[in-house]
């Protein structure tokens, strides 16, 4: 399973990538939407974990652009708060309840990734 992590908090995604690697999940990370669009031109990912509130382009808009480039890619959204508005938007975009609220428990994330990957 190859996972792309996108969040402007670099320390968050770099540490998360290291922890996922310890659990046998290959994860790359970027901190802005431009780098996300760039990396998918060169590497293939099964799942992208997107922060909902990214600078300049929100995670929901980025998901649509990534989907155009990588139709097989699946998505999980990461939100700072579980506001009703965020839940509705993430659920509508991901088709299921594929969103997590910060701070994320690694075992919950791994379980979610495995669930989506096995579909």
């Amino acid at each position: 399973m190859r996972v792309l992590l996108v969040d402007d908090e670099e320390e968050l995604v770099s540490t998360l990538a290291e922890r996922l690697a310890m659990r046998g999940i290959e994860a790359s990370w970027v901190s802005d939407y431009r780098s996300a669009l760039d990396i998918v031109e060169h590497q293939v990912f099964d799942i992208a974990l997107l922060d909902v509130r990214l600078p300049e382009m929100n995670g929901l808009e980025l998901k649509r652009l990534l989907e155009e480039r990588c139709p097989a890619m699946k998505f999980i959204f990461l939100t700072g708060h579980g506001s009703e508005e965020d839940f509705r938007a993430c659920s509508a975009e991901s088709g299921r309840d594929y969103y997590l609220i910060k701070p994320v428990q690694i075992e919950v994330l791994v379980a979610k990734l495995n669930e989506i990957f096995q579909q």
């Binding site: 402007d8 908090e9 540490t15 310890m22 300049e56 708060h81 701070p103 994320v104």
Partner: protein, 220 residues
């Protein structure tokens, strides 16, 4: 309560809500980073129990990361505390540059989300008797209206000039922005704040400027 005071009260609540929501997101990010660093420490400890060597340098780096995030959270909470107290502070002699610095720090995350950088041009203090919350609220409305139309990669330069009995605050926007539209929207939305500050808002689209001119001594 007069209609203007009522409007200013509503605008103040909206401003307070926007800022505290943004600050809570910042705090959530800090907590998420601390959580991952603590989790990584735990992971490394488990691996060490299974015989994998644990580097003291690695531990030191992770401890430093947590320490840095705690400092960051402290700065955020201090800002929140100052902001909360500013809502009931009476008019007092204040350096406008300090108000600019504080407003820029307060809205930095929201500005970054829109690809906007806020800079303060003044090098020397410009004292003015004003209620900081009212002026910060007016500056926020102006910036919010800019954020609504920007396509990103913009800079806003805040400057002030002491004209004796009047003070002029200018917001120098980047090229290609609808300055007149942002100014008109701010004047309409912030009417009660302009009245409270006895300020006049004007725009200079040719030079991408929004100008606020107001008496030096405020008694609100």
């Amino acid at each position: 309560m007069s209609s203007n005071q009522d409007d200013a009260g509503t605008l103040g609540l909206n401003f307070f809500g926007s800022m505290t929501a943004s600050i809570s997101h910042e705090v959530k990010n800090v907590l998420a980073i601390v959580n991952e660093n603590a989790g990584l420490l735990e992971d490394l400890a488990l691996l060490a129990e299974k015989g994998r060597p644990l580097s003291p340098e690695r531990l030191k780096t992770l401890a430093e990361n947590i320490h840095r995030q705690v400092q960051r959270a402290d700065g955020i909470i201090r800002r929140l505390n100052r902001f909360a107290h500013s809502t009931h502070e009476p008019a007092a002699a204040t350096d406008l540059c300090e108000i600019f610095d504080f407003t820029a720090a307060l809205v930095a995350r929201l500005a970054a989300m829109k690809g906007v950088t806020i800079t303060i041009v003044n090098q020397h203090p410009v004292p003015m008797k004003v209620r900081p919350f009212v002026l910060e609220n007016l500056l926020w409305i102006c910036l919010k209206n800019l954020f609504a139309v920007t396509q990103g990669n913009q800079t806003v330069a805040l400057a002030t000039e002491d004209l004796g009995d009047q003070v002029v605050i200018t917001l120098q926007l980047g090229e290609g922005l609808p300055v007149a539209e942002i100014g008109a929207q701010t004047a309409s939305e912030g009417q009660s704040l302009l009245a409270a500050l006895r300020a006049e808002l004007s725009t200079d689209p040719e030079h991408n400027l929004i100008r606020l001119q107001m008496p030096h001594m405020q008694d609100q």
